[in-house]
């Protein structure tokens, strides 16, 4: 456990400068945007006189130099204050925290589906490399991997929501249904089936392919030969020796794909009108709300860092060699 904690501490320290680069980079990128929050606000209220503009700029601190504002921004970030969204008239952190759970449910379920089913099918394909089942699964997964998630979402909703009417087309729960407890949870689950499938199927294909490739390599290792020579049952060799060793790289992949999956949920949330984090990003773009967009990018970076920390811990627990060298160093 000590080993995992030490690894964790080192990873946290090394991710601080990276996060700082993200913050400063995004700040200056959005600094390039023509117009500021006051301009956007003026357009939304239909214009105003120069004195109002001046006083608004002063009250938001927009008349200061970019460097000074960056400093002010960093200081307030250190106090966990992401600023104020002019578009929504609310603190940005509140907005994000309100939307984040929907996205986390979507991502978490999609991840569980793709990882679980992908690994399982990968084991089936990799158990007998070159067999008919293996070829069908590997070609099928390649085809699935080529499907854009948002289009898959639309097709699924045409079939299952519009034609068959089995599932709802959009939203996260039935509006004003008055449901509570288990009934509400079931309602949300029903709404999540299509978006989770649309987001998860692509990663299912990825995990299947990785698992299959990893098993193909493990079959050639000497310890597999030894296990066969010992006369172990094939089933036991596949599960206990080959699949187990091929599983580790998948855990790493999980961390690497976290960012891409967060990006994918932006589009999926737009397809299924789920009021999540990704939809908030789209609303920020549409409303030219730069501070909100910076906040969203920073929070998503933090989220990806956290997921990777979890992956690191899992990895250290699964593989006793990870981080062991640091004990001597």
């Amino acid at each position: 456990m000590n080993r995992a904690l030490r690894l964790l501490r080192r990873r946290i320290v090394s991710s601080i400068p990276v996060l700082l680069i993200v913050i400063v980079g995004t700040f200056f990128l959005l600094e390039l945007a023509p117009g500021d929050a006051v301009d956007a606000y003026l357009i939304s209220i239909g214009g105003g006189d120069p004195a109002l503009v001046q006083s608004l700029r002063e009250s938001y601190g927009l008349d200061q130099s970019p460097l000074l504002r960056l400093w002010v921004y960093l200081v307030s970030l250190a106090h966990l204050d992401l600023g104020w969204s002019v578009q929504f008239g609310r603190p940005i952190l509140d907005l994000i925290l309100e939307r984040l759970p929907n996205t986390l449910w979507l991502m978490g379920s999609a991840l569980a589906l793709s990882f679980g089913l992908g690994t399982l099918l990968g084991i089936v394909a990799g158990a007998r490399p070159g067999s008919a089942g293996d070829r069908i699964l590997s070609i099928g997964s390649l085809a699935l991997y080529a499907v854009p998630s948002f289009w898959l979402g639309l097709v699924l909703s045409i079939v299952f929501a519009v034609q068959l009417r089995w599932l709802p087309t959009s939203g996260i729960e039935t509006i004003a249904s008055g449901k509570e407890g288990l009934a509400r949870a079931l309602d949300i689950a029903r709404h999540l089936v299509l978006p989770v499938s649309a987001l998860g199927f692509i990663y299912l294909a990825l995990f299947l392919r990785m698992m299959r490739a990893g098993m193909g390599e493990t079959w050639r290792q000497d310890f597999v030969l030894a296990a066969r020579a010992k006369g172990l049952a094939r089933r036991r060799i596949v599960l206990r020796h080959v699949a187990r060793n091929a599983l580790l790289p998948l855990v790493t992949m999980l961390g690497l794909q976290a960012a891409a999956m967060l990006g994918g949920s932006v589009v999926i949330e737009s397809v299924f009108a789920i009021p999540g984090f990704g939809r908030l990003a789209q609303e920020a773009v549409a409303g030219r709300d730069a501070p909100l967009l910076i906040g969203i990018i920073i929070v998503s970076a933090v989220l990806v860092i956290l997921i990777n920390l979890l992956v690191d811990i899992a990895y250290a627990l699964l593989d006793p060699r990870v981080g062991a060298s640091e004990e001597t160093a």
Binding site: L29, V147, P148, W151, L154, A259, V266, A301, V304
Partner: protein
């Protein structure tokens, strides 16, 4: 040439080439068969597919020819995909070579930047970039490349780290070549092949991100793209689902073709005893 022969014999390679031939032919011949602007109104609105010989795939809400859009969309998808992958590979291999060759503090700093780009979702970054600079084709290309150059950079750096210890680099140093000359004339060309092997995956990813961006309404509004056609068809999803389905098939064919081709290529290279 032997690689090409092997590629032509592998089933994945053949399938990939056949699938890719469709969008490539469409992109090249778009102006020959459909010289009119695909965004112009061509006939009555919402003709279902396979009912009117003048519009084999029907028309959309505004009476625009779906087939013309599909054909012209192939051009936008392929152009953006190839250009974004090219930009990403150039930036990535330059940064990777500099980081690997310079080492020390430069390497440390550059790799932190690479990590920073990796932890921000590529689509969010592209979304922010396009919304700041304004949607046009070059901007979309660059926005997609911003999220795709980190893979090549890491791979190029790893290659350079192993190459810079080789004898011919030491000899180049002994004869007094400038470090920059060694880096870009001796090391970079030898580090490139494995990086180039990434290109097909990057092209496929770029095609998908471009589609997602234009689906979200952040593509170039003056060009017809498959993503924007899908988004347009969404408005009448219940009555005319084909409007969203048809352009998506174009996307699947293109991306699947690229994946199959790269699978065939890496098999052909592996048969030659080279790394994929």
């Amino acid at each position: 040439m032997k690689t090409m022969a092997r590629l032509a014999r592998s089933p994945e390679g053949i399938a990939g080439l056949l699938l890719l031939a469709l969008p490539v032919a469409a992109a090249l011949l778009a102006d020959v068969f459909f010289s009119a602007d695909p965004l112009s109104i061509a006939g009555p609105a919402l003709i279902p597919p396979f009912t009117d010989t003048a519009f084999p795939l029907g028309t959309d809400r505004l009476g625009r020819d779906v087939l013309a859009g599909l054909i012209h969309g192939a051009r936008a998808s392929l152009a953006v995909g190839l250009a974004a992958a090219f930009v990403a590979l150039v930036i990535g291999s330059l940064v990777g070579t500099i980081a690997g060759f310079a080492g020390g503090l430069v390497d440390e700093a550059l790799m932190r930047v690479v990590e920073a780009f990796q932890i921000v979702p590529g689509l969010l970054l592209a979304l922010a970039f396009v919304s700041v600079v304004g949607a046009s084709l070059p901007v979309v290309v660059f926005a997609i490349a911003l999220g795709a150059w980190t893979g090549p950079a890491r791979l190029a750096r790893a290659e350079v780290l192993s190459i810079r210890e080789r004898d011919y680099v030491a000899s180049a140093r002994v004869i007094g070549m400038h470090p920059a000359e060694i880096a870009f004339r001796e090391v970079l060309p030898n580090a490139l092949p494995p990086v180039l092997a990434l290109s097909s995956v990057i092209v496929a990813g770029a095609v998908l991100i471009e589609a997602a961006l234009s689906f979200l309404g952040l593509g170039d509004p003056n060009i017809v793209t498959w993503g924007s056609m899908i988004a347009e068809g969404r408005n009448v999803l219940r009555s005319a689902p084909y409007l969203s389905i048809v352009p998506g098939i174009g996307l699947v064919v293109t991306v699947l073709g690229v994946y199959l081709l790269s699978e065939g290529l890496s098999n052909a290279l592996a048969a030659r005893g080279m790394r994929p």
